[in-house]
Symmetry: C2
Subunit: 339 residues, 2 copies
Amino acid sequence: VQRGWQVVIVTQTGARPLIEAVLERVAARGAFPLLRMGFDWPFHRFWVKHAPEDLLTQLPSIDAFERENCDAIVTIEGPSNTRQGSDLPAERFALWREALRPYSRRVFEHELAWVVSQHPTPALAQEAGMTLAQFEDFFYGSVLIDWDALEAEMEQIAARFDAGKSVRIVGDETDLTLNLEGRNGRVSTAKTNLPSGEVFYSPLETSAEGVITFTEYPACYAGHQVGGVRLRFEGGVVVEASAASDEGFLLTTLDTDEGARRLGEFGIGCNPGIRTHTRNTLFDEKMDGTIHLALGQSYTDLGGTNESAIHWDIVKDLRNGGRIELDGEVVQENGAWKL
Amino acid sequence: VQRGWQVVIVTQTGARPLIEAVLERVAARGAFPLLRMGFDWPFHRFWVKHAPEDLLTQLPSIDAFERENCDAIVTIEGPSNTRQGSDLPAERFALWREALRPYSRRVFEHELAWVVSQHPTPALAQEAGMTLAQFEDFFYGSVLIDWDALEAEMEQIAARFDAGKSVRIVGDETDLTLNLEGRNGRVSTAKTNLPSGEVFYSPLETSAEGVITFTEYPACYAGHQVGGVRLRFEGGVVVEASAASDEGFLLTTLDTDEGARRLGEFGIGCNPGIRTHTRNTLFDEKMDGTIHLALGQSYTDLGGTNESAIHWDIVKDLRNGGRIELDGEVVQENGAWKL
């Protein structure tokens, strides 16, 4: 954060101690903090729920000006109830995301500085099945680690996948092939996500073939938790989808737009502090021994061309009998690297 | 609120039920709500406290754009602690108010729609010396009244003062003369303040002569409560000032700028639901049987020419032996009208 910057802070009231520490430090650096605090996610849920439908795809000039002119966005999630927002009709939410799309480009293409983090709240602890004290231990155990050492390890993993082409993911009810040819990965360090710790790619948009079943954990998105998601891909497109619970939300979300049925991301979790799924994507997608796929928007700066109003990360655990093959060679088995 | 409007909602977390009702209704009308919520007043206190001093008089472009382009401002005070902000150095606060001055003109001159209200919180009840239930009764008893009937009464009072010139306020340690010649008053109805119920003027800037002592109640401003304020005016200017407590804050505030020593407002409280001082200016200044004077910024649309970064309303109770004379005639005595 530099002097003169305009720093938008998107947050929720549960994160108060961290919000106030950030406000103080941003101001002390001579950067102007613009606090955008709601009680729960998402910030615009009253608008999404109650606005006339024909206005949902429009962004008011004040909001647009802010998104075009801010120098940094600090997102600090601190929900009091993780299910808030789950009552928003997916169709209306998609219209609103459409309004935001021209502006999210600045974030995806790193035209501005940004970081996403959380503050441990009772609601997040509850979602994780932990006491607040347990969750705080888990939280700081994944955030306060030796980032330089982890970065070096992740660079090795990325180098190997950068040089490879075909990725095969095998696991419980899962056999899926992707192609990364010509695509470089990104090592996620503690600069944009806290916790961080993943290596991720935008795979070739037409390459996904086969089946993946997320038997271990629910797929969490927009306040929903969809159990037992099963996706079958042909030529990069989801041609069959089912779920053990909340299947309607899965199917509606896949119909958001054309890009919602293609992959925007293949990610590999590498954070050794995260061994437990907490129904909290920011953490779950970094879990060591897992991979995740994101439906929807790809990373244009990683060569991705898929466009969508959604970006839904879903985590697959490979620690119990799963493996990753790269160009026919097993590079990870039961969550352990064989590089 | 009209379709297409951009409605800024400035508020604090304690007002949650009212905030959410407003967000829903604004959105349902097709007006875009822009929530600017902090934990406590003032919204920018971290900036005022910690920013480099040379930046304090500047407004960042995003904030300026919002203030120039919003169609309405809804302020809903809902503090969790009424003393927050009282630690802000008055000099730094004055610099920040300087930055806001070009934009507050839109509010003072009614270029946009605005309303100021509150939501009854434990902190406001505590300040009033009441339980929350007692304060809620008091609160709604002053807000949910017959506004049409009160407006008719206030119109009579305003007509009388509009036609008059010299106002003399006599009371405990008080004998002060003002001139309203050529100035019209405004009847405050429930459109911009809730509770409402006052008739107010911007008196001639050079007219105040004499002494007023606010013996009954503290003068509340910026989180401070200054006891026993005594002001002596000559030619419209405060030439002597003292206080029984927190005198330093009074003197510093009077030195904010040239206009801070002149009167911007003479107001007459008319709300029959407000019989008790609650250290809450929005209510206190409407108390039936009281008058108030504001140091600082005047109402340009009422003919006022005094400019200042401050506007500090201070309430004087006239119900116990006080009186108001208009051109030599007693028009109110012991708080009762003799019109």
